[in-house]
Amino acid sequence: MFSWLKRKYKFLKTMAQANQQKNEQPQAEKIPQSFPELRAKLQQVFAECGDFKTREILVGDEHYRLIIAWMDNLASNQILHESLIRPLLEPQAFCQFLEDKEEDLAVFLKNNVLIAAELKEVTDFNQTVEFILCGESVIYIEGSSTALAAATRGWETRTVTEPETETVVRGPREGFVEDLAVNCALLRRKIKNPNLKMEMMKIGRQTKTTVCVCYLKGIADPALVQEAKTRLQKINIDAVLESGYLEEMIEDAPLSFFPTVGNSEKPDVVAAKILEGRVGIFCDGTPFVLTVPYLFLETLQASEDYYTRAISSSLLRTVRIICFYVSILLPGLYVAFLNFHQSVLPLNFLLTIAASRESIPFSPFTEALFMGITFEILQEAGIRMPRPIGQSVSIVGALVIGEASVRAGLVSDPMVIITALTAISTFILPPLQRVLPFFRFGFTIAANILGLLGIFFFLIALVIHLCTLRSFGIPYLAPLAPLSLSDIKDTFVRFPLWTMLTRPRDLTWPETGQAAKYRAGAEQLLSKMRKKEDR
């Protein structure tokens, strides 16, 4: 078996090496000066590409020939006409050039004729191809080895709407869209600061997806930013269709149940995380933006915690922590108490349970397992079904599984209550929603073997596992373990905003982390002194 694994491993390794070699950038290539050659080359590159358009124009008293090349619908026809073609065909446009004849035509076009917002001079043919594929229009000039790339991007995008995954009662309702440029703009509107850096890179051998690494210089730890960038650069796959691809390639513990890379659909959430010193990773084509490092406690935090008053959001935090325990422990505790620790329950309660379990042929464990699996099936069906049919799923679930199975004597009433409670609790922690059921089953099995002892064996093992995890070098359970007292302010309770004087110590650059504390303290003192002086 081991030799087989070894061979498999070697095979994967050689494959990875081969891919590495394939990933080399294509060599730079000069743009042909003669047009028949250029036409042939474009034809060869874009053969059988139905959406590739070119147009030849004669300008300057028909002395000069140009080819404009673009991708249909990627480049906006309106911008193309208004800012490129119309100025070019303007009769007076070339008067000055024809008189002087000193300047290079490309420079003249760039400076005097074209009115596109962004114009780049390109000398590499492969680069022009890349520009065309990104939605820009490229103007080739006969007899010149320089081409002009004009920003004419303008494709159909979804409008900014409220995301369905993260709804809030109070707080901004806008969400990211599929277009990277729009997303970057949404973030920039939140943080109007030149220190907000956005570094673009292209990932994916076939798709050449644009990925943007976004961080706040001076707050984010430079080592963290570097680590994120190197991990992204090491990615070597064919396609990046969603940020999930990136997540899987850069996460620390791919085999763990717990996510070590966070994602969000809301600009305000991402902005808050970047302001704490995290790094955001935008991926073109998806509204889900990744944030690293992602720590366990972030699953308990919601953006609304910071928009509502501190007391109410602290209470909600507590509720969420209770929900976390309920959703993983409740069925296990039920099994443990009924199997091993009957004496712990008050007698009256025990009698009630016994009465409702009288006609049930199965053990509590079988019941819990049956109901747990049923619920998972219902949930998955509810997500996958088209929305109109989803309603019927809930009816089937509530009536058939809940009501009928109790009446048929398959499950007892307490078990239905427990399943419902666990299910609802799971929904309160969306990032862990897909993870918690596994632990629920694990705890139920452990409880069936060794009762409460089994549950605690499993719990300790789980805590040890969580303690071994790290996300981009930061312990997953920080700031609880290792304990950092100054960061407790944003864990089980949320302190009022005016007490949050320091940035998270685990995340930020040490210089800003500790120094910021003293600076804030000094500033407070200064302002007090100034007030006194004013009097």
């Binding site: 712990v344 605690f456 300790i460 303690c467 373990a481």
Partner: protein, 355 residues
Amino acid sequence: MMTNVKISGYQLALLIMGFLFGSTAVLNPTAMAGQDAWLAYILAWVGGFMLIWLYVRIALINPSLTLVEILKVTFGKYLGTVIALLYIWYFLHLAALVLRDFGEHMNVTVFYRTPMTFIISCFALLIAYCLRKGLEVTGRAAEILMPYLFIFVIIIFFLLIPEYDTNNLFPFLEKGLTPVIQVAFGVLTFPFGETVTFLMIFPALYSPGQLKKVSFAAFGVMGFIILGIIVRDLLSLGPDLLTRLVFPPSLSTELTPELQLEPLISVNFLLGGWVKITVCLYAALVGIAQLLGLNDYKHLVLPLVLLAVGLAMWLYEDLFKMMDWTANVYPYYAFPLQFGIPLLILLVAKIRKLA
């Protein structure tokens, strides 16, 4: 060697607290002193402070050296190795002892028909996992788990208030001071003296300047909590019942009105025992690795845990043999290791300094 492992002062304090809590709070070693249990305990507690002072002194004189290395430095290569082997055996023995205590407790209280080997093996599996992940992870896990232990102790203490009867404290010193001192000597060796194990862990402390503060604080806090437990058992059960029971806390928690909180005692035992066994086996593993001159102890975890489980089953025939042995033989067996040899180390260091 294993100096790259670093834990914070808070983590070390939690490990010491968990270690002291260990099986102490469930076995209640002061029970034999009857109504004077609290006095015997306080005497032992004071002695415990002297012992930890001794250990801290040794650790400060030999910074970044573990006990095995200190022994080699102090007594020379051969004698040092022999004594180090003695200590490794002691740590292993201690781990096996706690494992057996745990198994017996579970068998007596809840899992009457589950084979003890199975319970012990499950526990050992957990500890093996923990040891494989290393001391840093153990420390961090302790940061998460130890608060539960304190919460449970406090809950039980306050829920039992209606059952307390102050008459249980009298008559004071009925049989004179001698039996009290005898019990106090027992308590000094179990649990306070057992912290000699931490001489293997002190070098891992991130900032050695904290060592004294941290270990004294841990002794103070945990000593106070155990005092609370002992007083709780004494006040709720009475001296007569206390001396007859093997696991007094299990019975005293059953007295809680309207509730039965016995499982909390088991869970506390689990948390404390987990820390204690992990620390003991870690010390033994590091000792073995250092004697052999290895960089990493992790390869030896599984066989040593298997050995510890075997020892746990082999050392004692039954519960009563074990109780008898721990009460009457253990103090004399452990005291030289806990006090004699450390004192000798300190003296040798002092003489060398003078010379």
